[in-house]
C-alpha cells in the first residue's frame, strides 16, 4: 500500500484539502489576534454560521448564491459583534475576552439549534464540480481540488494585499506596534474593524465550502475550534506565514497520522503542539521577530 505512488498522491491531496480549509479559518483568527490582541474563541461559531447560511441559501439560490452570500452574512454578523461586544472588551484583558467569546459559543450553538433544528443538514456539491478527475494516476473528487485551489487563491490575494498595498503595510505596522502605528497617523480603530470583518468573512467562506463535504451540525464550530487554535499556536500568532505553515503541518500530520499510525493519531498533533510550545513558545513563524 505505502509502496504505491497513488497512495501518496491521494493522501497528499487529502492533506492539502484539510490544510486549506484550516488556513481559511486560522488566517482570520491569527491576524485578528496579532492586530487586536483579541482572543476570539467564537471564531468557530462564525464558521458554523457560514455553513448554515450557505446550506439555507443553497436551497433558494443554488450553491453559488450561498457561496457568495454566506461570507457576507457572516461579515455582517461580525460587524454586529464588533460594535456590541468586541470593541468594548478590547482593553478588558484576555480573561474577560476568553469568557465572553466562550459564552458566545454556547449562545451560537443553541441559536443554530433553535433556527435550523437538531438534525444535521447536507447540501449537494455544485454541478460543475461533480465527479472525479484523473490526476497523477489517481482519481480525485473535483470539488476537493476546488477547495485546494480556493485556499491557494485566498492565500495569494492576502499575500499580495499584505505585502504590496498600503492597507497591508498599515496592518503590518499595527501588528508590530499598534500604539506607534496610531502615532504615525494610522486610524488603527478603523483598521481593526476592517480586519475583524474580513476575518469573519473568511470563516464564513470556510463554512460555505466545507458544507457540501461535511455535514452541517450545530456543534461543527466547536469541533473545528481546537484544530484552528493548534494551527495558530504552532504557526505563530499574528502572522500569515505562520497560518500557512501551521495549517500545512496540521493537515499533513493529521492525514498521514490517520493512515500510517492510526493508534497514535489522536496524540501526534498534541505531541507536536507540546514540542513547539517547549522549543519555540512564540510559534514557528511569529509575526514579531
Amino acid at each position: 500500500m505505502t509502496a504505491d505512488l497513488g497512495f501518496w498522491v491521494l493522501q497528499t491531496l487529502n492533506a492539502l484539502q484539510l490544510s486549506m480549509l484550516l488556513f481559511l479559518l486560522s488566517v482570520g483568527l491569527t491576524v485578528i489576534f496579532g492586530l487586536m490582541h483579541f482572543v476570539n474563541l467564537a471564531h468557530g461559531s462564525l464558521y458554523a454560521f457560514g455553513a448554515y447560511m450557505a446550506a439555507s441559501l443553497a436551497g433558494v439560490l443554488g450553491y453559488w448564491g450561498g457561496f457568495l452570500l454566506a461570507p457576507l452574512a457572516v461579515a455582517a454578523l461580525g460587524a454586529v459583534l464588533y460594535f456590541t461586544l468586541i470593541r468594548s472588551q478590547r482593553r478588558a484583558g484576555p480573561m474577560a475576552q476568553v469568557l465572553i467569546t466562550f459564552g458566545l459559543i454556547f449562545v451560537a450553538v443553541d441559536a443554530t439549534r433553535l433556527i435550523w433544528g437538531d438534525l444535521p443538514i447536507g447540501i449537494a456539491v455544485p454541478a460543475v464540480f461533480e465527479g472525479q478527475l484523473a490526476l497523477l494516476g489517481v482519481t480525485y473528487p473535483i470539488y476537493r481540488l476546488f477547495i485546494i485551489a480556493l485556499g491557494l487563491a485566498v492565500l495569494a490575494v492576502l499575500t499580495l494585499v499584505l505585502t504590496r498595498t498600503q492597507v497591508g503595510a498599515m496592518i503590518r505596522a499595527g501588528v508590530d506596534n499598534d500604539q506607534m502605528a496610531a502615532c504615525l497617523g494610522i486610524n488603527v480603530e478603523r483598521m481593526f474593524f476592517l480586519v475583524f470583518v474580513v476575518g469573519c468573512a473568511l470563516a464564513g467562506l470556510a463554512g460555505a465550502v466545507a458544507a457540501p463535504v461535511l455535514s452541517v451540525t450545530p456543534d461543527m464550530g466547536l469541533q473545528i475550534l481546537i484544530p484552528t487554535l493548534i494551527v495558530i499556536v504552532i504557526g505563530g500568532l499574528g502572522s500569515l506565514k505562520g497560518a500557512v505553515a501551521g495549517s500545512l503541518i496540521f493537515g499533513f500530520v493529521q492525514t498521514f497520522g490517520a493512515v500510517l499510525l492510526p493508534t497514535f493519531n489522536s496524540v501526534l498533533i498534541y505531541a507536536l503542539l507540546a514540542a513547539v510550545l517547549v522549543i519555540r513558545p512564540e510559534g514557528l513563524l511569529p509575526a514579531k521577530g
Binding site: N14, G122, S215, F256, V259
Partner: protein, 393 residues
C-alpha cells in the same frame, strides 16, 4: 360531620398519593431523554411516539399515566442525578428512555438497586442485556450486536466474500463491527482490513477511504450515525467508490431521520435495521399515518422505540401490574405484533427479540425511501454472562 368526613377523606387521599408511589389507577412514568445536546432530535422522536403510543393503546389499560420528563443532556452524571430525582422525589413507578449507552451504564446500578423498572427505548450497548443485565431493565429497542450479526451471513449468501470495515472508535462502533465480522467470518467471508477513525473528531474520511479502495475488498461495511453518517456517505460517493465497491452497513447509516441530508449519495447503499418506515404491515401503516398526522414527520426507528415502549407498558398494566415490583415482573413477559413485526422479550437477558430488515436506500416520489430486500428471522442474543435472579418479587 359530613363535611369533616369529606375533608378527612380528601386528606387521606392526598397523603396516600404522596406517601405511596401511586394509587392503583395511576401509573407515574418518568421519561429520561436527552432533550438537549446532540441527540435532541432522537429524543423528540421517542417522546412524540411514546405519547402517541399511550394515546393509542392507553385507553385499553384503564389507568391514567402521569408523565414526568427529565433531560439527561446526554451526560452520564446528569442522567444519574435526574434518575435519582425521578425515583426518590417523584416516586415514579416506571422509567422509560435513555438514548446514550453511557447514560444507561451510569444509571444501571441505581435503577437496579432501587428496584424501579426501566424500559430502555434506545441505548444499544450489549452489556446492558449481557453481563450488566438486571431484572428491572427491559430493552425494547435493539442491541448493537443484534442489528449487525444477521448481515454477516446474508452478505456471504449474496456473494460478498471480502469486506473492509470502517467505524468510529468507541464502544458502540466496536460492538457493531465486531458482531458483524464474527458472523461474516463464521459464514466463510474474509475481513481484509479495518479502520477506526477517532469518534466525533473525524470530519474528513478521505484518508480512510483511500485505504479501503486499495484493500482489494468486494465491499465496505460501516457503522456511523448522525452527522458522521451524513459526511461519510457523501464523501464515499464523492470519491466515486460506490460503483466498484458497494457500501453496506448498519442501518443507522442511512436512517430515515437524516437520509435526505445525504441526497443522491445514499442511493444504492444496503443496510440492516430493526425498523424502516416502509415496512408493509397493518401495524406499521397505522403508526406511519398517526405519527404523520401528529407531527408531520415520518416515524424513524427512534420513534418506533418510543411507540413500542408505550405499548409494552400498556400490555404490562393490562396483565395486572400496578406498581414497581409488579411492572418489573410483567414487562419482560410482554409480547405483541407491532410495526416491526413480532416482538418478544428474551427471559434470559430481558433484551428484545425481533426480526432484522435488510433495506436498500432508493429514490422515491418525495425524496429517498427504503426498499426492503429481505427480512431476517428474529434471533435472541447470546446470554453474554447475564445472570437473571430466579424470581423478581
Amino acid at each position: 360531620m359530613k363535611k369533616t368526613l369529606k375533608a378527612a377523606l380528601a386528606g387521606l387521599a392526598i397523603s396516600t398519593a404522596m406517601s405511596t408511589a401511586a394509587m392503583a389507577e395511576d401509573i407515574k412514568v418518568g421519561i429520561l431523554l436527552p432533550y438537549s445536546g446532540v441527540f435532541a432530535a432522537l429524543a423528540q422522536d421517542i417522546d412524540d411516539a411514546f405519547v402517541l403510543g399511550l394515546e393509542t393503546f392507553g385507553p385499553e389499560a384503564g389507568v391514567t399515566f402521569d408523565l414526568v420528563r427529565e433531560d439527561t443532556e446526554v451526560k452520564p452524571p446528569v442522567g444519574l442525578a435526574k434518575t435519582k430525582k425521578l425515583i426518590l422525589q417523584d416516586e415514579v413507578d416506571v422509567l422509560i428512555g435513555v438514548v446514550s449507552s453511557g447514560v444507561l451504564g451510569a444509571i444501571r446500578d441505581t435503577v437496579d438497586g432501587a428496584g424501579v423498572p426501566l424500559i430502555v427505548a434506545n441505548a444499544g450497548n450489549d452489556e446492558a442485556t449481557g453481563e450488566a443485565c438486571s431484572p428491572f431493565i427491559t430493552r425494547i429497542s435493539f442491541s448493537n450486536q443484534q442489528v449487525n450479526r444477521p448481515m454477516g451471513k446474508w452478505m456471504v449468501d449474496q456473494g460478498v466474500k471480502k469486506v473492509f470495515t470502517i467505524a468510529p472508535d468507541y464502544a458502540a462502533g466496536r460492538q457493531m463491527i465486531d458482531a458483524f465480522t464474527a458472523a461474516f467470518t463464521a459464514a466463510g467471508g474474509e475481513v481484509v482490513g479495518q479502520e477506526w477513525p477517532p469518534f466525533q473528531k473525524t470530519q474528513d474520511f478521505g484518508p480512510f477511504l483511500a485505504n479501503a479502495k486499495a484493500s482489494g475488498a468486494d465491499a465496505v461495511y460501516v457503522f456511523f450515525a448522525g452527522g458522521e453518517a451524513i459526511s461519510f456517505v457523501k464523501q464515499y460517493d464523492s470519491f466515486g467508490m460506490k460503483a466498484d465497491l458497494p457500501l453496506y452497513g448498519s442501518g443507522f447509516l442511512t436512517s430515515s431521520l437524516y437520509v435526505n441530508a445525504q441526497g443522491p449519495a445514499a442511493e444504492g447503499v444496503i443496510t440492516a435495521l430493526h425498523y424502516v418506515p416502509t415496512l408493509d404491515n397493518p401495524e406499521n401503516a397505522a403508526l406511519v399515518a398517526a405519527f404523520k398526522a401528529k407531527t408531520g414527520r415520518i416515524p424513524s426507528e427512534y420513534a418506533v422505540h418510543g411507540y413500542d415502549s408505550a405499548r409494552a407498558l400498556v400490555e404490562a398494566v393490562k396483565a395486572g401490574a400496578t406498581d414497581r415490583a409488579s411492572l418489573a415482573a410483567a414487562l419482560p413477559k410482554v409480547s405483541f405484533t407491532g410495526p416491526r413485526g413480532e416482538l418478544r422479550i428474551d427471559p434470559a437477558t430481558n433484551n428484545i427479540v425481533q426480526p432484522i430488515h435488510v433495506y436498500e436506500t432508493v429514490a422515491g416520489a418525495d425524496g429517498l425511501t427504503q426498499k426492503v430486500l429481505a427480512t431476517l428471522p428474529a434471533e435472541a442474543d447470546p446470554v453474554n454472562g447475564c445472570v437473571m435472579p430466579a424470581a423478581v418479587n
